[in-house]
């Protein structure tokens, strides 16, 4: 078994941040302390936090079927470079992940690559077509805990109710891409002052909020765990806040881009700013930030959505939606949160949601050796990606906050 000692870092333990060395033995944290015992490879962590490895419950690795954009190997490499030790892949591949053997394929490929733990989310409906339930039992038995038709909402409330009733007792999570198709028809960006000026079809905030409001009534009825994907509007924040206050089993995520950009960026008509849900108003952005700080939004998820360069190099309305996010997430979010909250939102909370028992541990002896060493003060320019794609609006930007090392099951996967 290999050994690693992380020295000079600020270690995030269950009792808070302490200056200490961390000794890793195999896949486990063996010791946290300052008694000078150094074993194996020594990694200098001066000026950096040693904390639980990041967990992203919302990525698109495009395998199977769309491997020219990304695959499990390149996606895993991008995740490791971003400080992640576990990811949950969305099922909108070709074919969609709607049965047990497809879920097992993702798990097996992820283990073969071995850079991060890769766990699939399963589709709610067969083929993500919205007309019949996916093989929920098979998916569950394969290890799937999060179910989503991500990319689309489940439009049929009766079908969603059935899925919730089916999954409620075993603790499955329904994760909704909240977007009413009727309200977003012909839409490409947030409906508001910018879309009006550009004459572009809009996607109103209401399109997200009506679906969340509907779903919350179904949660009341069924008691199923429910997770709102990529919250983008102040109205959704309010709905989630009230649901949580009422004690409902509801969680929510926000993306780094909805925490840092607003719809004015689309004035450039640059397809790098095209994603669903779209960038909203500055007021929405502020509400989402505030909700992430106060915990109404539980966690950060990137919605890492790779597209090849030629696919994005077209007029805005023709471009596919989505941007990559794994390699810039921590730097974008870190300035918004204190350290403890940052690691909670990027690691502890998402690991809990996804039922990932080996991730999201504060650093202590006996904890699984899934760690990140994150330096909040080092600036770097976003120039190239480990992802196959580079559809990022942050390409060329200078960001502050760098991942120095990622350690997955005791092995250094990024340095």
């Amino acid at each position: 078994m290999s050994e690693i000692t992380l020295i000079n870092g600020t270690v995030l333990t269950p009792d808070g941040a302490v200056s200490a060395d961390v000794v890793i033995d195999g896949d486990t944290v063996a010791a946290v302390g300052s008694d000078g015992e150094r074993r194996g490879e020594v990694l200098d962590c001066a000026g950096a936090y040693v904390g639980p490895g990041f967990v992203d419950v919302h990525v698109h690795f495009r395998e199977p079927g769309l491997e020219w954009k990304e695959d499990i190997a390149s996606g895993s490499a991008a995740a490791a470079a971003g400080g992640f030790t576990a990811v949950v892949t969305m099922p909108n591949t070709d074919p969609a992940i709607d049965s047990g053997h497809l879920a097992r394929y993702i798990l097996d490929r992820g283990r073969e690559v071995g850079f991060v733990e890769v766990v699939p989310a399963g589709a709610i409906t067969l083929g993500r077509a919205g007309s019949a339930l996916a093989h929920l039992d098979e998916l569950w038995n394969a290890g799937v805990r999060i179910f989503s038709d991500d990319g689309d909402a489940v439009a049929d409330a009766g079908l969603l109710r059935m899925a919730m009733e089916y999954l409620a007792d075993r603790g499955g999570v329904i994760a909704e891409h909240a977007e009413d198709a009727g309200l977003t028809r012909d839409g490409h960006m947030h409906e508001g002052s910018v879309s009006s000026r550009l004459g572009m079809g809009g996607m109103p905030a209401l399109a997200e909020e009506t679906i969340v409001a509907r779903d919350l009534r179904l949660v009341e009825l069924t008691g199923c765990r429910y997770h709102v994907q990529h919250v983008s509007t102040a109205g959704t924040v309010e709905l989630v806040r009230r649901a949580k206050a009422a004690g409902m089993p509801v969680t929510a995520e926000a993306t780094p881009h909805h925490l840092t950009l607003d719809h004015r960026a689309v004035e450039s008509m640059d397809p790098a700013y095209k994603m669903y849900p779209p960038l909203r108003t500055p007021d929405d952005l502020e509400a989402v930030r505030e909700a992430l700080r106060d915990g109404v939004i539980d966690l950060v998820a990137t919605d890492h959505a790779p597209h090849a360069a030629h696919e994005k190099d077209v007029p805005f309305e023709h471009a596919p939606r989505g941007i990559i996010g794994l390699e810039t997430a921590a730097a974008l979010v870190a300035p918004l949160l204190d350290t403890q909250t940052l690691f909670d939102r990027l690691s502890v909370a998402p690991a809990r949601l996804a039922g990932l028992e080996r991730h999201g541990w504060w650093i202590e002896p006996g904890a699984p050796a899934n760690l990140v060493v994150f330096d909040p003060d080092t600036s770097w320019t976003v120039q190239r990606f480990r992802s196959k794609s580079e559809n990022s609006p942050y390409l060329g930007s200078e960001l502050t906050g760098a991942v120095r090392y990622t350690i997955f099951e005791g092995a250094v996967t990024h340095r």
Partner: protein, 305 residues
């Protein structure tokens, strides 16, 4: 001026100088030989990715009246139908030796993309429901030639503002030139959010019949106009320029329309044919202002016309 893409940011002196040049070209076009050699040896390529007859012919006429050569492209018979990307189409036409590109596309922002890809001067001939800046120039010139100025004029733009690149271009040009602009439309045909727009809105044409210019937009059924109205008859009732309404207009007012007109819908047949409906003059002035823009983008400084 490198490109001519939008009226949103163009300054009043720049607009006025283009209109002055347009005035001179109106005179050139009235000569026995309506042609000047200013752009001899230059090639202007027409990239109309969306069907268009009048705007394309107007640009071709303008280029030829400046002695430029033209090349033309039709999406139906081009490599686009074989799967070629827009970018490659634009680069191919550049490689053939075009000096400037006139671009129309139903997707917002395409002329900006083409400008990035090719580095050539680009004239926006209409992108989605966003901008159609030479239309705003020809409309401004038509009004200025009639009234002498736009300063202080009251102009009403009536109809499907939401889906209209003509409205989005005219509003900025007219207000930059000092006019008061009122939009007249049912809420389903107004932009959702008018924050920052220098306009007033009313919801029936009867509220603007004391104005100087009534600018009627086409109900664009091909852009979904049909689904945002209960019926065309109801539209005529509240927004149509009927004979009765025309009679209530001040005697020195004018009626304009960008064409093609739906006679009997936004404009009655009799009004369309009335001397105070300047529709044909708009079309004629279109050639002159497009000459002005082409000359600005491609010509030498201080060229004598």
């Amino acid at each position: 001026m490198k490109h001519f893409l939008s009226t949103e940011t163009i300054s009043k002196p720049d607009l006025e100088s283009l209109l002055d040049l347009g005035d001179r070209f109106v005179e050139v076009l009235a000569r026995p030989i309506p042609k000047v050699p200013a752009l001899r040896g230059k090639t202007v390529a027409m990239l109309f990715f969306e069907p268009s007859t009048r705007t394309r012919m107007s640009f071709e006429r303008a280029a030829k009246a400046l002695s430029a050569d033209t090349m033309s492209f039709s999406p139906g018979t081009s490599s686009l139908s074989k799967g070629e990307s827009l970018k490659d189409t634009a680069l191919t036409i550049k490689a053939m030796g075009a000096d400037a590109l006139v671009v129309r596309h139903k997707a917002t922002g395409t002329p900006w993309r083409v400008a990035d890809w090719t580095g050539l001067p680009v004239l926006n001939a209409g992108d989605g429901a966003h901008q159609h800046p030479t239309q705003a120039l020809l409309d401004s010139l038509t009004i200025r030639r009639h009234f002498g100025t736009l300063d202080g004029l009251r102009i009403a733009i009536v109809g499907d503002i939401r889906h209209s690149r003509v409205a989005r271009s005219d509003i900025w040009a007219f207000t930059t030139l000092g006019a008061d602009v009122t939009l007249v439309a049912p809420r389903t045909l107004l932009p959702v959010d008018l924050e920052g727009w220098p306009v007033k809105t009313v919801d029936t044409i009867d509220d603007v019949l004391d104005g100087d210019v009534i600018y009627l937009l086409r109900i664009q059924t091909e852009r979904g106009g049909a689904s945002v109205l209960p019926s065309l008859a109801e539209y005529v009732e509240r927004f149509g320029m009927t004979n009765e309404r025309f009679d209530r207009l001040p005697e020195d007012s004018i009626v304009m329309h960008p064409g093609p007109m739906n006679r009997g819908v936004e404009i009655s047949a009799a009004v369309a044919d009335h001397p105070r409906a300047l529709v044909e003059e708009q079309v004629a002035n279109g050639v002159a202002v497009r000459m002005a823009v082409l000359l600005r983008l491609l010509g030498e400084e201080d060229v004598d016309v």
